[in-house]
């Protein structure tokens, strides 16, 4: 370990809270995002406990509405959307492009503070009793009838959106204008392509939900607006504007995960990702096509069948680039020199679970089928397979892979493998029964349910308990390794990439000398590699 690096110099509370170093900001985000993850997880636990019995002895329907809403709001806006970009992205983007920092370091810090303020409003809404509208805030219930803390919660979401916008803006400018000499676009790691595509979505989509929430807030405060049918407003318009962002938002959540997986698969098969340019372009394709499908959330909401048809067809189309990635990752494994360290276990988990989640998305894209499973647990299972089985697995895999770089320490491999296994098993036990019970007809967001569904719910809650325990393990051993782990060395995985060419942890300004790149930075199995002059 170097004697002086970004963690131990400069020292002091203020040097962290007023830092402009992207690596420190990444850690600030890591800390706050983890806190919100556990808060959101508490609500998941409440939901699953309530659903243990059909009559629901734990809480009233009103309390239950608040529980699942807070779970959704916190997990979507305060965990999943920032998760990989604000932690791994912030840490790695400058390193991977060979820059000393992001283009706008102070705006980066501002984005974290904005996130925190948004989070304070979310917690404020919680303390005031929570929101009960579902994370989707549908009008006119949210604007005119709900007795919960809609305004506070909505303001929290509104504010957090600006954090996202600023992060995306920073990444776009950095990737365009701060690549090291010789680092052309097609020499960039796929992690960068994924984050670039994600940033496009952040920039183009988030402002729309911002204005939508603002209009919702006006309606709630003024008691009059454009979404209230009593005065001629259209609640479906709210849904159009809401989902215009919120569908691309799910790609904000999954694309960075895919970027991580590309890096992990390559590193742990010691092979370049098969079809690099296809995978790179597929990230852009997902970002673009992802903006055209939002109406598939509204098949039964009142949009016309013609609009539904259009959205359905395009939703099938958006599966294609995701499939391209999945095929290419699999092809990468062929004849690769595969090792099964923890990050790779998470990568395998991602591929399998994302496959299930993605394919069930196609079920939902079929209008005829969606009419039956819309608002059932089938949908809930679908998106949890992608968000948790996909994004969260990728996040954990990435955290483990880059942990040595970030902290300079090694985590204990035995415990991490065990945790990955527990998480994988717990996850499937939690969510697979939900496909079944949803298909059988159990509605979502209901505090009570018909008794014939109980066995599936019990299985799901059992799984959730295991999953929860599984998440606690990394909290413990990663924290332990921060203080007591073995020193990692510059490149413990013998991986390729500019981030591995500097020390672990890196110095404050990343590189002692600006790298000059003559080859793709992430090439495995090539005799001519990165020359750092």
């Amino acid at each position: 370990m170097p004697s002086r690096h970004y963690l131990n110099h400069p020292t002091g509370f203020k040097s962290w809270l007023l830092t402009t170093d992207h690596k420190r900001i990444a850690l600030l985000y890591l800390f706050s995002i983890t806190a919100f993850f556990f808060l959101g997880g508490m609500f998941a636990l409440l939901v699953r406990l309530q659903l243990l019995s059909p009559a629901g002895a734990l809480m009233t329907a009103d309390a239950y509405n608040r529980a699942f809403t807070m779970h959704g709001v916190i997990m979507v806006f305060f965990f999943l959307v920032p998760s990989i970009p604000a932690t791994l992205g912030n840490f790695l983007v400058p390193l991977m492009v060979g820059a000393k920092d992001l283009a706008f370091p102070r705006i980066n810090l501002l984005s974290w503070y904005i996130y925190v303020v948004g989070g304070i409003f979310a917690i404020g809404s919680l303390i005031g009793g929570g929101v009960d509208t579902g994370w989707t805030f549908y009008t006119p219930f949210s604007s005119m009838s709900s007795n919960s803390r809609v305004l506070t919660g909505a303001i929290g979401v509104f504010i957090s959106g600006f954090s996202s916008i600023l992060t995306g803006l920073n990444f776009i400018v950095t990737i365009h204008r701060m690549r090291a000499p010789g680092l052309t676009w097609f020499r960039l790691p796929l992690f960068i392509w994924a984050h670039y595509a994600t940033s496009l979505i952040m920039i183009l989509g988030t402002p729309v939900i911002a204005i939508t929430i603002l209009l919702l807030a006006f309606e709630r405060v003024l008691r009059v607006g454009i979404f209230d049918p009593k005065i001629g407003g259209d609640p479906v318009l709210f849904q159009h504007l809401f989902w215009f962002y919120s569908h691309p938002a799910v790609y904000i959540m999954v694309l960075p995960g895919m970027g991580v997986i590309s890096e992990l698969i390559a590193a742990f098969s010691r092979k370049n990702v098969f079809g690099y340019s296809f995978v790179a372009f597929s990230s852009l394709a997902i970002a673009v096509i992802g903006f055209l499908v939002w109406g598939h959330h509204m098949f039964v909401a009142g949009e016309t069948p013609y609009a539904a048809l259009l959205f359905s067809i395009i939703s099938y189309l958006v599966a294609v680039p995701s499939a391209v990635k999945t095929f290419n990752w699999t092809a990468t494994l062929y004849k690769g020199s595969i090792s099964y360290q923890t990050p790779m276990l998470y990568a395998f988990g991602f591929i399998g679970l994302f496959l299930v989640g993605g394919l069930t998305g196609l079920f939902l894209a079929a209008v005829g089928l969606d009419i039956h499973v819309h608002d059932t647990y089938f949908v809930v299972a679908h998106f949890h397979y992608i968000m948790v089985g996909g994004t969260l697995m990728a996040y954990l895999g990435g955290i483990h892979y880059w942990w040595p770089k970030i902290t300079g320490k090694l985590y204990p491999e035995g415990w991490s493998k065990l945790s990955a296994l527990i998480i994988f098993l717990g996850f499937n036990l939690t969510f697979f029964p939900q496909f079944i019970v949803g298909y059988l007809g159990m509605p979502r967001r209901y505090a009570v349910y018909p008794p014939e569904f109980q066995v599936w719910n019990v299985l799901s809650t059992a799984g959730a308990t295991i999953l929860g325990v599984g998440y606690l393990f990394p909290m413990v051993y990663l924290t332990w390794s921060w203080f007591k782990g073995k020193p990692a060395g510059d490149n413990p995985w013998d991986a390729k990439g500019l981030e591995w060419e500097t020390t672990s942890p890196p110095p404050t300004f990343n590189f002692d000398r600006t790298p000059v790149v003559t080859e793709a930075t992430h090439m495995y199995g090539h005799p001519e590699e990165v020359k750092v002059v």
Partner: protein, 239 residues
């Protein structure tokens, strides 16, 4: 390629304005300018959401939109359009002055821009407050108060039938112009900071990026108004 390799700390032209993570002033300027353009794209989408709502409701409620639009003060709206476009001219002239190293001219044009911006807001204030008023003996004995808040909005007489439609228009009017005004207030705040910097002689032909980038933001706010004016004030002034 060797001259492209820079060790940390050595910059080609030494400049106190060069931030440490950039290699050259040109790179910094490009990055900062690109950043502002990308931000303006987010603003396009932000206002775009409201324009989408406007589009749909104008299609549905044309009658109400016509009636409500005619209640807006075209003279004040027109003056504001001239004022705002004028302020775009003055800020462009201010950038030009900064580019050519004319300190006093830069300050003057920036001050003038601020004055025009404030004038816009003052006129807006008068427009808004008139919506609270009761217009007695208006349009053949109908009384109209057009602030959309519950309990305040009042449309009687010949317009009573399309009151809801008019109300939707007014909600959009306040949302659109209110958001626009908020952007102007923020803009004037930033302008104050930049004018102060100009007064202290901080801008040179080699470094005037803040003025130029502020100009981009200000012009964007002007462009939003260029669309708002016909869409809100000129729905139908004939027939």
């Amino acid at each position: 390629m060797s001259d492209a390799v820079l060790t940390h700390g050595a910059h080609a032209p030494a400049s106190t304005r060069l931030q440490h993570h950039f290699d050259t002033m040109a790179q910094q300027k490009e990055a900062v300018t690109l950043g502002m353009w990308v931000f303006l794209v987010t603003e396009i989408m932000f206002f775009g959401g409201m324009f989408a709502a406007y589009l749909i409701y104008r299609m549905w409620y044309y009658q109400g939109f016509v009636a409500a639009s005619r209640e807006l003060d075209l003279v004040l709206g027109g003056i504001n359009t001239v004022v705002l476009i004028g302020s775009s001219l003055t800020v462009a002239l201010g950038v030009h002055a900064a580019q050519t190293g004319k300190k006093q001219q830069t300050v003057n044009y920036l001050l003038l821009t601020g004055v025009l911006g404030l004038a816009f807001l003052v006129i807006k204030y008068f427009e808004y407050s008139s919506k609270f008023d009761l217009h007695a003996a208006h349009h053949g004995a109908s009384m109209i108060r057009l602030f959309p808040g519950a309990g305040i909005f009042e449309v009687t007489g010949e317009y009573a039938g399309i009151a809801s439609q008019m109300r939707i228009f007014m909600v959009l009017y306040f949302a659109l112009t209110g958001m626009h005004a908020l952007h102007m207030i923020i803009g004037i705040g930033i302008l104050a900071v930049i004018t102060r910097m100009a007064m202290k002689g901080e801008f040179t032909p080699h470094w005037y990026a803040p003025v130029e980038i502020f100009g981009l933001y200000w012009h964007f706010v002007d462009i939003v108004w260029i669309f708002l004016f016909p869409l809100l004030y000129l729905v139908n002034r004939h027939g």
